[in-house]
């Protein structure tokens, strides 16, 4: 113990923002994380969102010290943690599989960290952490006697009891059913507000990331595509990946044909549309035009005067109660989705096969850069999503 105590003290005392500086990680030929620069402010709830294999878990493991970066530095405040061991860092992890110690009682599981740090009232601290996650009444049980949701709470208590500078959550809700997951999302948010620790939450569930986090970073192929508050990311995605991964987007392969003041005119699928210049990439002519499904309205007669409208054929109508989801085919052949809120009962509902017009407020449209090697037919949100999921 005493042999390493001086260096350990230095690492464990680290306080401040979590900084990743040019972090790369390769496994043989495979690059898992390809240069990440991040500053996560102290006390914030940060989500790393991305499909499986995008490098988000590897990033998390490098923060925990369970992997060492091939290049770059991991810092908390002014303390460089790169190269230090997991047990030397003021960082704790809630593992995806919970990873509770099967041979220890719930109380001893939670008291494990405090005991290792030489805290004198470890058991008392464990009990109060268990109270925080409402598991105090089961402190005497073994992990195998608990349900998945209960084990999840214990795993959280076991990490929080150490009052770490950074708490890492590796898809902690992935194994829970939908209802429990929603409950735990609210619960996690409450606990984060209570304890005020920095939470770094890794997930592939975009809804989970948007509901819980102050800041979301969308990762793809080892890189961060875009960072920002969930509302900003959703409103104005900067890449086609983000547009398709974070919510649904109707996309069209478009070319910039002109600029009028602060509007950019694009042509796609035989029609023209305008995008606010601030919502389009600067200087790029090859773009993807995008509009969110709920920002689109369906009109049955072309009232005229709108430039941003498209004549489409309805393919499918799904009534979901609150809203109706329409799948329509745009002239280029790709499928778009439209959500319409059911404000009143329509005496003449739209049926599959009908020809209708789509219109939208140009202020809501956006454009993202398109490169020549982008796969073309995956324009609609559904196809992109399935490509991402696989």
């Amino acid at each position: 113990m005493g042999l390493f105590s001086s260096s350990k003290g230095a690492f464990r005392g680290a306080k401040g923002d979590l900084v990743l500086d040019g972090v790369r990680k390769t496994f043989g030929d495979f690059t898992a994380v390809d240069g990440i620069d991040l500053t996560i402010p102290r006390g914030s709830f940060f989500a790393l969102l991305g499909p499986s294999g995008c490098g988000k878990t590897t990033t998390l493991r490098m923060i925990a010290g369970l992997e060492q970066p091939t290049e770059g530095r991991v810092m908390i405040g002014q303390t460089d943690l790169t190269g230090s061991r997991p047990y030397e860092r003021p960082v704790n992890t809630v593992f995806q599989s919970y990873a509770l110690f099967p041979h220890l009682s719930i109380r001893d599981n939670v008291a494990f960290g405090p005991k290792r740090r030489g805290v004198s009232d470890a058991a008392a601290q464990a009990d109060s952490a268990l109270e925080l996650v409402q598991m105090g009444h089961l402190a005497g049980r073994k992990p195998a006697q608990l349900s998945g949701g209960q084990q999840q709470r214990v795993a959280l208590a076991r990490a929080i009891v150490n009052n770490p500078e950074v708490l890492l959550l590796d898809e902690p809700l992935g194994a829970l059913d939908l209802k429990l997951r929603r409950e735990m999302q609210v619960e996690l948010k409450r606990i984060q507000d209570d304890v005020g620790l920095t939470f770094v939450h890794v997930t592939h569930d975009q809804e989970e990331a948007m509901t819980m986090a102050d800041t979301v970073a969308v990762m793809n192929q080892g890189q961060i595509e875009q960072i920002g508050p969930p509302e900003a990311l959703y409103d104005l995605p900067k890449t086609r990946f983000v547009a398709g991964f974070l919510g649904k987007s109707n996309m069209g392969k478009a070319t910039v044909v002109g600029r009028e003041g602060d509007q950019v005119v694009v042509e796609f699928a035989g029609t023209t549309a305008t995008v606010p210049a601030a919502r389009a990439p600067e200087g790029a002519d090859e773009v993807w035009f995008g509009i969110r499904p709920e920002k689109v309205r369906i009109v049955t007669d072309q009232s005229g005067g709108h430039r941003d409208d498209v004549r489409v054929t309805v393919v499918d109508v799904s009534f979901t109660g609150v809203a109706t989801e329409y799948i329509v085919t745009v002239p280029s052949g790709r499928s778009w989705t439209v959500y319409e809120q059911n404000m009143d009962v329509d005496p003449n509902p739209i049926r599959p096969g009908d020809t209708v017009w789509l219109e939208w407020d140009p202020a809501h449209s956006f454009a993202v850069p398109r490169s020549a090697d982008d796969p073309d037919p995956a324009g609609d949100a559904a196809e992109l999503e399935s490509a991402v999921a696989s």
Binding site: F4, Y87, V91, S97, F101, L104
Partner: protein
């Protein structure tokens, strides 16, 4: 409403007879499946044990060596203990030492196989199991060559002046070495199985929660592998303390005889030795049973931390 409710009510009593019938069928199946095993145990375990027990209480006909009559002669047990208690002590001591050394060798090996071997894991497993393809006796005789007076091991130790008695064979060292070698796989395999089953994330969690390498091993990895250690020590200790092959091939007739050797000579060499041999066997069984029960009670359910 009532139309819907009626068939539902009728269905319920119709379903009632089902569970007992299926339960009865299950019992018949279970009985048939158990039958061969139970018969085997009765014929080859229960009957011989009863037979052994009755023999252990028989008395000799005076003047007719080799002839016995049915009796309740507890004197056989008194003789067995009074005359041969050093052999009991020696058996348990050798068995215990062999178990200890086997554990000390097997745990690092099993640990390396489970966590460090990578693609060599299967090769290592085969190496552990491969000796079983050769006969137990043959392998023990091979140890006689390895430890022989003019062999490499003995001469090297002699050169280094590390061999006080000048030889290895016919000493307790050779017997314990043979026992350790012969029962090592029975220690390795259960420990390997329990380590291999352990979730690596749980061990990582130990490091994440401020346990350094050694602490995490002591408080997480080792306790998680205790079921394997328990199984391995039992599988080693029980046969090792009852063994007679190693002592008779590697040991000396005087100083390293174990209970197994005494039983063997009582049965085959001493005229009229059957009752004493039987009572020795029974006593050995009882002693091991008591020791194992105490051991399992101590370590079986609770962790070592």
């Amino acid at each position: 409403m009532s139309v819907v409710a009626e068939p539902a009510e009728e269905l319920t009593p119709q379903r009632e007879p089902d569970p007992p019938r299926s339960k009865r069928r299950f019992n018949t199946t279970a009985f048939l499946l158990l039958l061969p095993g139970v018969l085997w145990l009765i014929v080859f375990f229960v009957v011989p044990i009863v037979q052994l027990f009755t023999v252990s209480l028989q008395s000799k006909y005076p003047g007719f060596p080799g002839y016995y009559y049915r009796d309740v002669n507890v004197g056989n047990y008194v003789t067995a203990l009074a005359e041969f208690w050093p052999h009991f002590v020696r058996s348990l001591l050798y068995g215990g030492l062999a178990t200890f050394f086997a554990f000390a060798l097997a745990y690092p090996l099993a640990y390396a196989m489970a966590f460090k071997a990578g693609r060599w894991r299967n090769v290592m497993l085969i190496c552990v199991i491969a000796p079983f393809f050769t006969s137990f006796i043959l392998r023990t005789i091979a140890w006689r060559q390895i430890l022989a007076d003019d062999g490499f091991v003995a001469s090297a130790l002699r050169t280094l002046h590390l061999l006080p008695g000048d030889r290895i064979t016919e000493t307790w060292i050779a017997v314990v070495a043979g026992l350790t070698y012969n029962f090592l796989p029975f220690m390795v395999l259960p420990i390997y199985a329990s380590l291999e089953r352990a979730d690596p994330k749980v061990i990582e969690a130990g490091g994440d929660l401020y346990g350094n390498g050694f602490t995490t091993f002591r408080t997480v990895t080792l306790p998680m592998s205790l079921p394997g250690v328990l199984a391995g020590t039992l599988l080693t200790f029980i046969p090792a303390s009852g063994d007679f092959v190693n002592a008779s091939l590697l040991g000396s007739d005087r100083s390293t005889k174990m209970v197994g050797n005494v039983i063997e000579s009582q049965f085959f060499k001493v005229p009229g030795g059957f009752p004493v041999a039987a009572s020795l066997s029974f006593t050995l069984m009882a002693v091991i049973l008591v020791l194992v029960t105490l051991y399992v009670r101590r370590f079986g359910s609770e962790e070592l931390v």
